[in-house]
C-alpha cells in the first residue's frame, strides 16, 4: 500500500532528496564520533596492556619497562614517537637494573606478515623469549609458531651470534640452533629470519653492552635525556 502510494506521488524535489541524505549523513556522523570517542580510551588501554604483557613475557624477570626511541643515532627514553621512528622497549628488574631489550620485528610469513616481539640480552647476546603478535599462518600447521609451547620455549637462552638457524626437528646441536616445527617449516624459518634481520639491523643501533639507558626516575644522576 505504501509503495503504491509512493509510486503515484509526484517525484519529490531534488532539495528534499539532498536534505534527506544530508540529515541521514549528519546523524550517522554524530553516532560514529560518539562511539569512537567513547571506546577510544578502552581500546588504547587494551593495546598498551597487550604490549606490556608481551614485553614481560619475552623478558623473564622484568617488572618495569620503558620505551626507547631510536633518534639521531641514539636511544632516547621517551613516551612520544613519530611515525617514522622505530622503538624498542627496555626491560628492568625490581632493582631497576637493565635486563634486556624487547624488540618488535615483522616480516613475510607463509601467508601474511608475521609481527613478533623478541627479548634480547645484549650482555650474553642471547634471545630470551619470543612472542608472536600478529599472524595469519595456516590454522593447525603454521599457527604452531605461537601455539606450540615447545617451539616458543626454544627461544629462551638462545644464542643469536652469528645468527639463529632453524634445523630439522631433533637435529639441534649448537646453542644457536632451534628445532623447526614439522609441517610448518616455512613459518618456523620465517620467524627465525625475521629475528635475524631485526638483530642485524638493531645491533648497529644499540649502545655497547653495559651502557644501556637506565630506567627513568631511578637511574643514576646525569643520565640525561629525561626531562
Amino acid at each position: 500500500m505504501t509503495s503504491s502510494a509512493q509510486m503515484n506521488a509526484p517525484a519529490p524535489s531534488s532539495l528534499r532528496l539532498v536534505l534527506t541524505l544530508a540529515i541521514a549523513g549528519l546523524i550517522s556522523g554524530i553516532a560514529i564520533i560518539g562511539i569512537y570517542e567513547s571506546t577510544l580510551p578502552t581500546i588504547t588501554a587494551n593495546k598498551a596492556r597487550e604490549l606490556r604483557e608481551a614485553v614481560f613475557k619475552v623478558l623473564p624477570g622484568v617488572s618495569e619497562m620503558q620505551q626507547l626511541v631510536y633518534r639521531d643515532g641514539n636511544l632516547v627514553v621517551t613516551e612520544e614517537r613519530r611515525k617514522d621512528e622505530q622503538a624498542v622497549y627496555g626491560g628492568y628488574d625490581r632493582d631497576g637494573d637493565f635486563v634486556g631489550y624487547a624488540i618488535p620485528a615483522a616480516g613475510p610469513g607463509f601467508q601474511d606478515t608475521i609481527g613478533l616481539l623478541y627479548g634480547f640480552a645484549p650482555q650474553q647476546k642471547h634471545v630470551l623469549g619470543m612472542e608472536i603478535l600478529e599472524s595469519r599462518e595456516t590454522p593447525g600447521l603454521g599457527d604452531k609458531i605461537y601455539k606450540d609451547a615447545e617451539f616458543v620455549g626454544s627461544f629462551s637462552a638462545l644464542s643469536i651470534e652469528p645468527n639463529i638457524v632453524a634445523v630439522k626437528k631433533g637435529a639441534k646441536a649448537r646453542p644457536n640452533e632451534i628445532d623447526a616445527i614439522t609441517g610448518a617449516t616455512i613459518s618456523s624459518k620465517a620467524v627465525v629470519r625475521i629475528i635475524n634481520e631485526a638483530h642485524a639491523e638493531w645491533s648497529k643501533r644499540l649502545p655497547p653492552a653495559g651502557s644501556e639507558p637506565p630506567l627513568r626516575g631511578t637511574g643514576p644522576a646525569g643520565s640525561g635525556g629525561s626531562p
Binding site: 534527506t20 560514529i32 562511539i35 587494551n46
Partner: protein
C-alpha cells in the same frame, strides 16, 4: 491473530526462509569466519545487532525516506550500526575482533541485511519489521553456529576451545581451512533440500490419501 502474525514473521527466518540454508544469502561471512564456534557466534551477534537496529530505523522512517534515495539511506543506516558494532567489539573483546578482522566492516555488504530492508522493513510497520529482522538474524546466527561448531569439532577436535576427544584425535585440518567451509555448507544444503523434498512428497501423499478417502 496479531500475535500469530508477528510470531510467523519471526519463525520463518529460522526455518522456512532461513537466510543461509534456504535463501543462500550472506555467503561471505558464512564461509570466512566459521572456522570456530566462537568466531561464528561473534559474527552472528554482530550481524543480529546490525540487522535488528537497521530494520527498526528503516521501518520507523519508511514514510519519510523518498524512494529515489532509499538505498543510499539504508546503506547509511546499516554502515552506522556496523561501525558501532566494530568499535564495541574492538573495545570489549579485542581477541575476537582480531580473528574476525576485515569481516566486521564487511557486514555492510552482507546482502541479507540490505535485502531485508528493501523487501520487508521499508514496507511493513515497526513491530513486524523488528520481528522479521530478529527471525532472520537468529536464523543466520544459528546457521553460522552450526557450521562453526561442525568445522571446529572435525577440524580441531574441540568446541569453544574445549578439547573433546583427547590426545589420540587426529584433527581433520582441512575443515578449518577455507575448503572445509564449502564442504560443510554443501552437505548442510544437501540435507535441507532433501528434507524439503521429502516434506513436499509427504504432503502430496497426504493430499492424495485425503482425496481418495473423500471420493
Amino acid at each position: 491473530m496479531k500475535q500469530n502474525e508477528s510470531y510467523e514473521e519471526f519463525i520463518k527466518g529460522i526455518w522456512r526462509d532461513n537466510p543461509v540454508f534456504v535463501q543462500v544469502l550472506g555467503m561471505c561471512p558464512m564461509l570466512a569466519v566459521t572456522n570456530s564456534a566462537v568466531n561464528a557466534i561473534a559474527m552472528g551477534m554482530a550481524t543480529f545487532f546490525v540487522l535488528v537496529g537497521s530494520s527498526f530505523l528503516v521501518s520507523s522512517f519508511r514514510n519519510w525516506i523518498p524512494k529515489q534515495v532509499r538505498i543510499s539511506c539504508f546503506i547509511i543506516i546499516i554502515a552506522t550500526f556496523v561501525t558501532v558494532a566494530d568499535y564495541t567489539l574492538l573495545a570489549l573483546v579485542p581477541k575476537v575482533h582480531k580473528e574476525l578482522g576485515a569481516f566486521i566492516p564487511l557486514i555492510v555488504a552482507n546482502c541479507m541485511i540490505l535485502g531485508r530492508q528493501e523487501a520487508f522493513s521499508s514496507r511493513y510497520p515497526v513491530r513486524l519489521a523488528v520481528m522479521d529482522a530478529m527471525g532472520m538474524a537468529s536464523g543466520f546466527l544459528l546457521a553460522l553456529f552450526s557450521l562453526g561448531a561442525i568445522r571446529e569439532i572435525l577440524g580441531d577436535g574441540a568446541l569453544f576451545g574445549i578439547d573433546l576427544f583427547g590426545e589420540n584425535f587426529e584433527p581433520w585440518i582441512i575443515m578449518i581451512l577455507p575448503p572445509g567451509g564449502f564442504l560443510t555448507l554443501g552437505v548442510i544444503l544437501l540435507f535441507f533440500n532433501w528434507f524439503r523434498f521429502k516434506k513436499d512428497e509427504f504432503l502430496a501423499d497426504v493430499a492424495a490419501a485425503e482425496r481418495g478417502g473423500n471420493g
